[in-house]
């Protein structure tokens, strides 16, 4: 297997002493920020991107992988000990995990979440290593019209199928697309929507939009609704180790959660909410002690946590092979890759095979680090949870604005950040989803390119998207996903919240 030889090379890069230190730092700061209440993985990655700017590309990516997995793990710690899940994917973990912590079993709950995440990420990363090269073989045959069809699917699934109403989701997407127009057009050099402001010629930074919408918008919402009543984290008493019974009850949910999470995460409409809820329901049905569900069943933590992590690795499949982000976290990660001058997509595997496999290897390493560092450091994470919210949000705003001016030292960038913060606040207030705007900004220019390239090749004939069976099928899927929610109004839909 060629991919194994490449993966081996990746490991030899990732296990160099300096890179191991980067991985450890990434995992620790990723967990530290991810553990803070109200901060999900997307925001964790966006806030910590500037930390990795000035390292060498290999080191940056390795630290980045650590931050990503650390942020995910931090979210589950918050859910278990504080019952305020930082992101929607941890909502299910909070159901049983918080009950376990209340009845003095916080240690085993954290342990099964950590080990389950480890097992899931391990299996899912192996699956990623196998699946990605296969998908790349298909993806290199993609013509511009196929890409355009694929992006239509991503647009529709991100905005119309989830959220409270398709109209609001599409409006959020359109806002992102509009921001994506700004700046100099890649094909012709024409400036669009820059209003004579030179700082806008380079376009809108994805991190500025993400940090503004997520961090500043969230801070405004929390402050305006007085949501800052003190909530005490539940102390972790007794042993953090799992008993033999805990192990016996955990290992099957881990594997089932992984099997559910990875494929759903790899789909364009994936996300982590559906697999975590599915896993929770399956474990409740299959458990021999199903009466414990609702009062702290360990299966209800083990399964969903594994599903959550497996689906996170699953979203890396479309992200790395096709350059398609299917969640807010993936969108921010794509922005990160672009900072390091890496453009995910089929060409990445051909041109920068060393980087891809270095990343996959560092995901493994980050995973091991997470397991080794997190359980012993649990006392530290609990103390972080006790930071008073005024200081916490003040610190978040300082760090958010620091990252923005560090990347692009100009007042215009800060004004944009503030403006996006206000928009984020209004979107939350009137129940517009936020992820579609971020995805729209990233994919908009790519879709624009694909659309115009196809029309150049067809000499302006728009039928080109329907003449090729592959793109016709994808356009058809996108259209039916767009129309379906309007037709089946009564159909109960999944409500997807943002990180």
């Amino acid at each position: 297997m060629e991919s194994f030889a490449l993966l081996f090379d990746g490991f030899s890069l990732a296990t160099q002493p300096a890179n191991l230190i980067y991985a450890a730092i990434g995992v620790i700061i990723g967990t530290a920020v991810g553990v803070l209440p109200g901060i999900g993985p997307a925001l964790t990655v966006a806030l910590l991107l500037p930390v990795t700017f000035k390292l060498d590309p290999g080191g940056s990516i390795i630290m980045f992988a650590g931050i990503y997995y650390g942020g995910m793990y931090g979210g589950s710690t918050t859910a278990i000990l504080l019952n305020t899940p930082g992101e929607s994917a941890s909502v299910v973990t909070a159901l049983e995990g918080n009950r376990m912590a209340r009845s003095g079993r916080g240690g085993p709950a954290l342990a099964t979440a950590a080990i389950g995440s480890f097992v899931a990420a391990l299996v899912a990363t192996i699956a990623l290593a196998f699946l990605a090269p296969l998908l790349v073989k298909i993806a290199v045959k993609f013509a511009p019209w196929d890409y355009f069809g694929l992006m239509l699917i991503a647009f529709v699934t991100v905005s119309a199928t989830f959220g409270s109403s398709p109209l609001r989701g599409l409006t959020s997407l359109a806002f992102g697309l509009w921001l994506g127009l700004m700046g100099i057009d890649q094909l012709t050099g024409q400036a669009r929507l820059t209003f004579g402001v030179p700082e806008l010629l380079d376009g809108i930074e994805v991190t500025t939009l993400a940090v503004g919408l997520f961090a500043i918008g969230e801070a405004l919402v929390v402050a305006s609704r007085h949501l800052y009543k003190p909530e005490k984290p539940i102390p972790v008493n007794g042993s953090i180790w799992m008993s033999m019974e805990d192990w016996a009850r955990s290992w099957k949910p881990w594997l089932r959660g992984t099997a559910i999470g990875f494929p759903i995460g790899a789909l364009p409409a994936g996300g982590a909410e559906i697999p975590t809820f599915l896993s929770y329901n399956i474990e409740r049905k299959l458990s021999r002690k199903s009466e414990e569900f609702g009062s702290g069943a360990i299966e209800g933590v083990a399964g969903p946590e594994a599903a959550n992590n497996a689906s996170a690795a699953g979203t890396l499949v479309p992200l790395l092979t096709l350059g398609l982000p299917t969640s807010a976290t993936a969108a921010v990660m794509l922005a990160g890759f672009q900072q390091y001058n890496i453009q995910p997509g089929p060409l990445l595997f051909a041109q920068h095979a060393d980087l891809v496999w270095g990343l996959v290897a560092s995901l493994f390493i980050a995973n091991v680090m997470l397991l080794v560092l997190n359980l012993p450091l649990i006392g530290l994470w609990v103390r972080l949870l006790a930071i008073p919210l005024p200081w916490l949000y003040a610190g978040i705003l300082v760090f958010a604005s620091m990252g923005t001016i560090a990347a692009n030292p100009s007042v215009v960038e800060l004004l944009l950040l503030t403006g996006f913060g206000v928009v984020g606040f209004l979107m939350r207030r009137y129940d517009y989803p936020i992820a579609p705007a971020v995805v729209g900004l990233i994919l908009g220019p790519l879709a624009d390119n694909a659309l115009r390239r196809s029309l150049q090749m067809s000499l302006g004939d728009p039928m080109v998207f329907l003449q090729h069976p592959s793109s016709a099928i994808m356009v058809g899927i996108a259209l039916s996903a767009l129309v379906a929610p309007f037709i089946f109004k009564g159909l109960s839909r999944f409500q997807q919240d943002e990180d």
Binding site: P50, V51, F53, K54, S164, S165, L167, L170, T171, A174, L177, W178, L181, D185, L187, T188, G189, Q190, R192, L193, I216, A219, L220, V222, A223, S224, R225, H226, Y228, P388, L389, P390, W391, Y393, A394, G395, L397, V398, F399, S401, M402, I405, A406, P409, V411, L414, L415, T418, G421, F425, R429, Y430, D431, D448, L451, R452, L455, Q456, L459, G460
Partner: protein, 157 residues
């Protein structure tokens, strides 16, 4: 938009519709002023027109929903707290604009944001914010060599 002339069951949707139409118009106006033409195929303005049409469609959608009862309860907001955060961000922007530097701006940002979240000890928060800002400045400017905006305080280091 005065409440006397417009009586719709769902006012936010009507306001959003107006904003969407305005963005559509700006985009259309911007596209019509573009001078660079593609040698063949579609020019850069074609996508702008497409996005403008999308905004018009969404605006019409919002206009329709503005005449249906709202499905959403908006919660009361504490505008004073929002004002404090606005002041916090404005202090940072002002400090950097006027050459006050990162540390001064971040200190004020920290203290005023903490005030927005209900803290009453402004002096203590200013001290804490200053310590945090100096630490971040030293870490990022010296250790990671990122260029944070400099003012009189930063030049002391």
């Amino acid at each position: 938009m005065s409440g006397k002339t417009l009586h719709t069951p769902n006012r936010p949707a009507a306001v959003v519709a107006v904003i969407l139409f305005a963005i559509a118009f700006i985009t259309y106006w911007d596209a019509s002023a573009m001078t660079v033409r593609a040698s063949y195929g579609m020019g850069a303005n074609a996508t702008s027109y497409f996005v403008a049409v999308l905004f018009v469609a969404l605006g019409v959608g919002h206009l329709v929903s503005a005449f249906k009862p709202s499905d959403l309860e908006t919660e009361a907001s504490d505008w004073k707290a929002i004002g404090w955060i606005g002041l916090a961000l404005a202090s940072l922007i002002g400090s950097i604009w006027l050459g006050g530097g990162f540390i001064l701006g971040s200190t004020l940002l920290f203290a005023f944001t903490a005030r927005a979240f209900g803290r009453r000890a402004l002096l203590a928060d200013i001290c804490l914010g200053a310590v945090l800002a100096v630490l971040i400045f030293l870490l990022f400017n010296k250790l990671l060599t990122l260029a944070l905006p400099q003012g009189p305080l930063e030049r002391l280091f």
